[in-house]
């Protein structure tokens, strides 16, 4: 077995050094009836070639976004990833390192996390950012819990259409706590108002009015961003107390839903209530600058049941992929990428709204928007799929959320418009 270095001889050597003759002598504390289960309905070991064959069979039964004509977003986005990103994240020193608990030999990971924190703070217009959450949905739930800790209140208002998975996740986290709930109005019991922008239907929002409404009752303003590329074109949510969401679009493959990258930024005054890992700059015994994980007295390994969260990931490799991609994009590239996404979506909007019977209910969008059709959304999407077009996400019976990114070609868009026109003619409303 190629991953196991011991030979029969070396095992026997070690067993005799230990003072036993058989490995089971080391398992004497295990109840006899539980030891050496031998009824596993599983195959024996296989070589690389055999494993690759099976995996290729699985992979070949899927129709990936890279096959083109792909208009699905809704919280996960198909973007180009520069070759450098994957090269860097596959370096052993990053890929196979542990959480940087020993900072003397983890300065690479730590400096990347520090740079990641800075990127997120700059993009969101916030003071500080943590090093990182599992994904956008859990990051949003953590923001809700943090707002409850800060305010001592139990109710959360959702102000704009929130991604249904984010809403479900938040609800599941709140269900664990007495009296915690989601409400559709703002009161003096409101811990925070959650504003997704662009919202789940693709509409960007301004924050000034929400800021005033929150201030009037002493609630926090939480802004959720599911498409981080939008922050290259839309104004920063600097009015918010917490900005959280999903950063998969920068550097991470869709990968059927994970691993993705949650981000979490807030104002400095809430630092002690933040969940998750933080990296800070300090000096070593020679006075040289360096980085360490810090402020861990908020965390589970010190505070146990009184911790701000049970989270102990720093989603390190995902944060690295993001940081590498952002460093390649730079200020100009990031803004250009955002604008290209918007322009592609404008082209798509013009093409689809040119199809008879198709309406565009919302005039404002970033890179995705809703179309309204007389026919059933799922029927139309299924017809599109049969023509090898992944047409979007059904948000209601007659509304489809469609998305364009820099990956979408004008040919793809024209093909989509023609197919939609044909289908709407063929399928009765």
């Amino acid at each position: 077995m190629r991953y196991l270095p011991q030979t029969k001889k070396s095992r026997d050597n070690m067993l005799s050094a230990i003072g036993v003759t058989h490995v089971d002598a080391l398992f004497t504390d295990v109840p006899a009836e539980a030891l050496n289960h031998n009824q596993f309905n599983l195959p024996d070991h296989q070589g690389e070639l055999a494993v690759e064959r099976t995996m290729n069979q699985y992979a070949n039964q899927n129709r990936p976004a890279s096959a083109g004509r792909f208009f699905l977003g809704a919280g996960a986005y198909y973007h180009h990833i520069p070759a450098t990103v994957d090269y860097i994240i596959q370096r052993s020193e990053f890929l196979t390192a542990y959480t940087p608990y020993q900072p003397e030999i983890a300065q690479g990971t730590l400096q990347v996390i520090f740079e990641y924190q800075t990127f997120i703070a700059q993009l969101t217009g916030q003071d500080i950012a943590n090093a990182s959450m599992y994904d956008g949905a859990t990051s949003c739930a953590e923001a809700g819990l943090m707002a409850m800790r800060v305010t001592g209140r139990k109710k959360i208002m959702i102000g704009t259409p929130l991604h249904p998975h984010y809403r479900e996740t938040l609800m599941a986290y709140l269900n664990n706590l007495p009296d915690a709930d989601i409400e559709d109005h703002i009161t003096s019991d409101t811990a925070c108002v959650i504003i997704q922008s662009p919202d789940f239907l693709g509409v960007p929002h301004a924050y000034d009015d929400w800021r005033k409404r929150c201030d009037a009752v002493g609630a926090l303003l939480v802004v959720v961003v599911t498409e981080i590329v939008s922050l290259g074109l839309l104004p920063a949510p600097a009015q918010a107390d917490i900005v959280c969401g999903e950063a998969q679009s920068i550097g991470l493959a869709l990968s059927y839903g994970g691993p993705h990258l949650g981000f979490f930024a807030c104002r400095e005054k809430y630092l002690r209530q933040m969940p998750g890992r933080l990296c800070g700059r300090t000096v070593d015994a020679d006075g040289k600058p360096g980085f360490v994980l810090t402020l861990s007295t908020r965390e589970q390994h010190i505070r146990r049941e009184k911790a701000t969260s049970n989270i102990c990931t720093n989603q390190g490799l995902c944060a690295l992929a993001f940081t590498v991609h952002m460093s390649l994009l730079g200020e100009d590239g990031f803004k250009t990428l955002a604008r290209l996404n918007h322009e592609k979506a404008c082209y798509l909007a013009d093409a689809l709204s040119g199809v008879k019977h198709v309406k565009l209910p919302n005039p404002h969008f970033f890179n995705e928007f809703v179309i309204e059709i007389p026919q059933k959304s799922d029927v139309v999407l299924d017809h599109l799929r049969r023509r090898d077009i992944i047409g979007g996400y059904a948000v209601s019976d007659h509304h489809i959320l469609v998305t364009a990114t820099e990956m979408t070609t004008d040919d793809d868009i024209n093909m989509y418009a023609r197919a939609l026109s044909d289908i709407l003619t063929e399928v009765s409303a």
């Binding site: 039964q61 924190q117 599941a172 493959a253 800070g280």
Partner: protein, 493 residues
Amino acid sequence: MTQIDDTRGLDYHESLLWEKARSDTPGVDLPTPENKPLRTGQNARAEIGLPQISEPQAVRHFVRLSTKNYSIDHGFFPLGSCTMKHNPRLNEKMARLPGFAHLHPLQPMETTQGALALMCELQRWLGELTGLPGVCLTPAAGAHGELAGIMTIRAAHLHKGHHHKTVILVPDSAHGTNPATAAMCGYTIRTIPTRETGRVTLSAFKEALGDGYDVAGMMVTNPNTCGLFEKDIREISDLLHKAGGYFYGDGANFNALVGKIRPSDLGVDVMHINLHKTFSTPHGGGGPGSGPICCTPELAPYMPTPIVIKDQNTYRLEQAGERPTSCGQLKGFHGQFGMHVRALSYMMSHGKDGLKRVSEDAVIHANYILSQLQDDYHVPYAGPCMHECLLTDKIQKEKGVTTLDIAKTLIEYGMHPMTVYFPLVVQGAMLIEPTETESQAELDRFIHVMKMVAQDVTAGRTDTLHTYPVSAPRRRLDEVKAAKEPNLRWKVS
């Protein structure tokens, strides 16, 4: 005149991205936008404050930073309860197949049958290996799996109307995530003391259980964080079950059992599996993890949603609301699929025969280290141990040398330290998990350095031990300063 930085030899000084001169062109070539009027309803964003460098500068920046890291591909990494084993590159190659990497989680399921079949197969492997056939792959990490498991238990109790069950029992040797997770679920934590024997004894358990009326469940890591198998686990789980409580198994130490012992045969009702530990998906400098949970048929109705279901020859994800008893959805989409691919590649490569050797070799390695070091270091609890062994600095501390010094000496000798000062029940703890993927030569080198330290202490040669490391990219860092004067991001000075 530019000042020369302190780069010497291969030891590079590497500034922050923001400290580098801004390049006119970024490290990507994108088409030129048409700059037509925006349809966002808002003005375009002004200056963000991002750095800008070319591709060669970016590559050099990250490659130089990488050289400041230690990794499992460098050498020995005996980090207790963390299972730093070899990460096969085949797994990376498989996860990058376009049919996996570029698959969107919300695509029509007719277009993702291969991915769903793979997830179903992983569910089957995990169910077989744990003896717990209800499997939900969605949790994103170990702590997230704990949350999923405790929420599953909670949903089961609430469904049965057991609102009085408000307490979770947790041994004091448990990982901090256990009590933190139970608290997130609104439970009160009752601690089981284990300091005396390093195990949950029947009497300590009975005392914590009381009449069991308020006890919802128990979270136990087995083998535990003292490296010992909980030998009374069958009696304990039987008593817990009689009192109407559920047994949550923390899967952090599954590497000692995999392919040889099924947690179901120890009375476990629900547990998480760290794919990034037992099944070799890379730790990546602290994530991403993946923490599927496995449970009994009794608890399966309460697991988080969605799970993958096979209907005759087609596969599908559970629909929203299809299983109303579920404790809910715990993240976006349906789990760390990229990690599922890697873990299944690893499992198929080992097979049931190889996985049994994994646990056996892991246990042999830990006992080998214990046998070689037990005369030099204090062993708080007698062996045999399981896949990790626990030592302390009790003997060395008398001469002023602490666990911290020993850990930093290992760094000086080109190794990653063991887990230090954990478990909390033992003073100056050093928890050593060698894993099965080390050669005897690597183990012997570690043993040699540990013996050398012990001999230096005995001989009074302790001065240098306090100064280590001196050959690493950095000396010991000032953590007090970092916490007192938080500097958490680059700022315009």
